[in-house]
């Protein structure tokens, strides 16, 4: 009997019991403190095995939350609804959602229609680097005419885009 219950608890933790068996077992557990403790241990072991991490809560953690919820006051006072404010707020929320959807769609569409925008940016940077290098080369040659001797390779950019293939 004990072994059978242990097996059922294990199956419950692994979510392998059908609904009827689950309900029956939970009713039994509710009445038996030892089974409750065993269920918590099984759950902890299962969590540790699945995630290699576990956090241990105190045994009465769930009971304390239950108690706190029971102590929450219940208000039965009628609430006056401001319909105009409610409608305006609803309209504002709806408009915001529409705007957000339009903005996201537009940006996606832009990305789709300009698939080479990234390449253009790289090419632009490459052009700027080339211009800087050409400028630097002119400075060098004005500084010392012996730099006319060196051919162009010495002052070209260290990295340049040779080809691009979209995946």
């Amino acid at each position: 009997m004990q072994a059978q219950q242990n097996e059922k608890l294990s199956l419950l933790v692994d979510d392998e019991l059908d609904a009827v068996q689950e309900l029956s077992l939970l009713k039994t557990v509710q009445q038996d403190l030892e089974l409750q403790a065993k269920l918590r241990r099984y759950a902890l072991i299962s969590q540790a095995m699945k995630t290699e991490q576990c956090s241990v809560a105190s045994p009465d953690f769930a009971a304390k939350i239950h108690q706190q919820l029971k102590q929450e006051p219940i208000y039965f006072l009628p609430r006056k609804k401001n319909d105009k404010v409610f409608h305006k707020a609803a309209l504002a929320v709806a408009a915001s959602v529409v705007l957000a959807v339009v903005w996201v769609s537009a940006s996606k569409w832009q990305k789709q229609t300009l698939p080479f925008a990234g390449v253009n940016q790289i090419a632009q940077r490459s052009v700027q680097a080339d211009q800087m290098n050409a400028h630097f080369k002119e400075y060098l040659q004005a500084h010392d005419k012996v730099w006319h001797v060196n051919n162009d390779t010495g002052v070209q950019s260290y990295a340049r885009l040779a080809s691009y293939q979209k995946k």
């Binding site: 211009q131 800087m132 050409a134 400028h135 630097f136 002119e138 400075y139 060098l140 040659q141 004005a142 500084h143 010392d144 005419k145 012996v146 006319h148 001797v149 060196n150 051919n151 162009d152 390779t153 010495g154 002052v155």
Partner: protein, 311 residues
Amino acid sequence: MRFLLFYLLFISSTFASEGQNLTGSQWLRNVSDAMKTLSYHGTVVFMKNGQIDTMKYQHSVEKGIETERLISLNTPLREITRNSGEISCLYKETSQKVESDHPVDRSFIVNLPLHAEQISEQYLLAVAGQEMIAMRPAQIIAILPKDNLRYARKLWVDTATSLPLKVEVYGLDGNVLEQVLFTELAIDDNGTSSQAQQNVLSQHLHEFKVETFGNSAYQLESLPAGFEKIFFIRTSMQQSNKQVDHLLISDGFSNISIYFEAKGNNKGIEGQRSLGPVNSYSRVMGDVQITVMGEVPMETIQLVANKVDVR
């Protein structure tokens, strides 16, 4: 660096008695005279920035005007001619010719001070042994800076003609930054040289107008020890088509250029850059882009850049 200095001083004292009993300054003066008066040709290898350029070289003097011609042996084929301060570079494959003017005569082979005795405050000239270069006996002259603001050099001088056969520039760590080397050299009887005329597309760069730095919008608080102003010109850059003010200072061997250019709408360039023996540092002051570059250590470049101001 200090080890190199003492080593060369030792060699200097050892070989001084074997040489022609000339001091380093006298050797330099002889080199300078020989380069201005003799006509010669040969093959020169330029090693700079990890790049090797082998060129046919011809030097001639006619009516006191020096002409140097360099013809590349490898692609891109080009012919560079210096006629006093005028430089032209002819690209043979495209028949494009680029011309520029430079206010100071300076040989392609080596930069020498106008007055060798004036550099004694900054450099120690040591006569350091002999070697064979291009099958010719050469005297080594070590040019050693007395501070860390400039680079050391070695010059191999042809003992027969006093022409420079090899030049090396060393970084502060002792590594070679630049080499110029004759692999063959022959002395010509006269300075006549054939100037091949071709139908070429000529493009003139760097026309300049000499200005007075004192009247300019810029000022330089002080110069590094031994440096003096050589020229201040207003020139134009072909790439940007912008006017650039160019101040050149020199200690005889090492030159530093300071460029002042309107920044315009550009973001401006800030930072350091090195290319072979040349270091440069750029910074923006208000609307002015300042670039300092030269064959000196980066510390010297930054020292100069930090002394530059806009009036």
